[in-house]
Amino acid sequence: MRRAFRAELIKLARPRLLTLAAVAAILFAVGSAAAGILNAQPASAHADGPVLDGFARADGGSLAFTMAASFAGAFLLAVFAGAVGVEFSRGTLRTLLLRQPDRHRLLAGKLGAVLAFAAVAVAVSLAASVAASVAFAGSRGLDVGVWFTGAGLRGMARDYGLVMLAVTGWALLGAAIGVLVPSLPVALAVGVGWAGPVEQVFGEAWGPATRWFPGLLLESLLDPDPGSPGSTRALVTLGCYCVVAVTAAVVVLRRRDVTS
């Protein structure tokens, strides 16, 4: 598994990919801070969207980032489903299996490397988001000093952990779709379709959906609505989904003939 991890890092550490990832992470961060802070309304306005009072709290420094990250689910699911699916369709998985025939170790190592890469990207993006939030805070009369107190920094660390938890959840579900659905276009369609229209439409029409659908549960970890389940319940339910998805993927991967 360690060799698969290191091999995947060689693939990820290309200068071009690193530059693209850094640019995307910073743009996402700055965009999220701008959208969050500049559009925030006072709580008294009772408007939809970000609330200015939230940014005034100690843990307000990373609020814009977590709110924006909660909308990235469909994208992340598609990325991870596609990353696994393309290994099958391009024949690279076949080439790798000729060196590492233990399929589970291979996939676990690759996934671990991608998550390590994501951990760095999320950290960079969070830092950039906090910096951008500081820049925008002045125009809204926010005191940013409170963000850098002990409580504020703990809040940022907690938010980083929650985002990584959500990314890991999306990664496991996406990788499972990539393994279970043999066709890359179909895997992408299933991933995007489910996390996008299906969950969102059902979520609007059927109240309990927020307590049961994996995408909405992951979203609720980062940006809880009043109707969302508690974080413990959400984590337990998501854990069950991940166990089922990973078990199904492991069984299929072990039995599947690699013919492309």
């Binding site: 060799r3 698969a4 290191r6 091999a7 060689i10 693939k11 290309r14 071009r16 990919l17 391009r90 024949g91 690279t92 998985l93 076949r94 080439t95 790798l96 299996l97 000729l98 060196r99 590492q100 025939p101 233990d102 291979l106 039995r255 003939d257 690699v258 013919t259 492309s260």
Partner: protein, 309 residues
């Protein structure tokens, strides 16, 4: 390399079924250590499926097989000693050729210091830092061969390595395979291009519809087919008369235009040639030429498998 009493590859009743279709049907064959074995058969004969089962990519439906003395149920026990290219090269287009090999060396636990060596062996030393996505088809195939050599393997398995190559590319690939064989490695190479196989392989395995049709030394297979002596007469009428006279004299002949083909029937071509020349001369028939004719490997294989494919 280890000296092993086992054949490099041994299949015993290996079978692969997909629903009602049988791709490989109770295939029993072996590849001795040290040979270049040609694995031939028409498209869809089951060559790639059989090779994929040897490499742990496809699960057999029945039967057993061993690679380098290890059962194929435990590919981890032998794949480090095997280099394989199956179903064409599969590499990351955004990485350079050398970086792709670095990925494989890392995952396979091979020495990355061998990368320049294997790139040079396949003629890609100057192009290792180019992105794989920009390689020509021939270069992609050569990088695939380089990847098979990373672990300094005892056995190299190549599936249709000349697929899609132009004649120059095929000739290069033949040279590369010959060079690999000269390093003392056992090679199992599949192809449906029999001319290619004839030129590089000293062991031949022919399969058709998933079953074994022949296995043994290539020279022995070539010698099975009856060679013939072809006499070229001055015209049609002379050829017809010569054919009649030779038939009357007990020879098995076949005439086409000015040519009369005489079966060797166990005799060597020079002595039969001298005999036919004298026979014709004594009867006033002038011969314009005499030559030995052997059927090509392709003709023989087609005769064996009934022109399938």
């Amino acid at each position: 390399m280890t000296d092993t009493p086992h054949p490099a590859v041994a299949l015993n009743g290996l079978t692969k079924r997909y629903g009602g279709r049988t791709a490989v049907d109770r295939l029993t064959m072996h590849v001795p250590v040290g040979v270049v074995a040609g694995f031939v058969g028409p498209n869809g004969a089951g060559k790639t499926t059989a090779m994929s089962m040897l490499l742990g990519l496809i699960r057999p439906s029945a039967g057993t097989a061993e690679v380098l003395g290890e059962p194929i149920s435990r590919p981890g026990a032998y794949l480090r000693r095997v280099g394989a290219l199956v179903e064409g090269p599969g590499f990351y287009p955004a990485l350079t050729g050398a970086a792709n090999l670095r990925v494989l060396a890392t995952i396979g636990g091979h020495d990355p210091a061998r990368i320049p060596t294997v790139l040079a062996e396949v003629g890609l030393a100057a192009r290792g830092d180019d992105r794989y996505g920009r390689y020509s088809l021939g270069m992609k195939q050569r990088l695939g061969i380089a990847a098979t050599l990373l672990g300094d393997p005892e056995l190299v398995i190549l599936d249709e390595p000349t697929n899609g190559l132009d004649p120059a590319g095929m000739a290069e690939m033949r040279q590369i395979i010959a060079a690999i064989a000269a390093q003392g490695r056992t090679i199992l190479v599949s192809s449906h291009l029999l001319g290619e196989v004839e030129q590089v392989c000293d062991w031949l395995i022919i399969i058709n519809r998933g079953t074994l049709a022949y296995q043994g030394p290539t020279a022995q297979f070539a010698a099975r087919a009856g060679a013939r002596l072809v006499a070229l007469a001055a015209d049609h009428a002379e050829a017809a008369r010569l054919a009649d006279l030779l038939t009357t004299a007990g020879h098995t002949v076949d005439r086409a235009g000015d040519e009369v083909a005489v079966d060797l029937d166990g005799r060597d071509a020079p002595s039969l040639g001298a005999h036919v020349n004298r026979f014709a001369h004594d009867r006033g028939i002038v011969l314009a030429g005499l030559r030995e004719q052997r059927p090509s490997l392709e003709d023989q294989v087609l005769a064996l498998i009934g022109g399938a494919g």
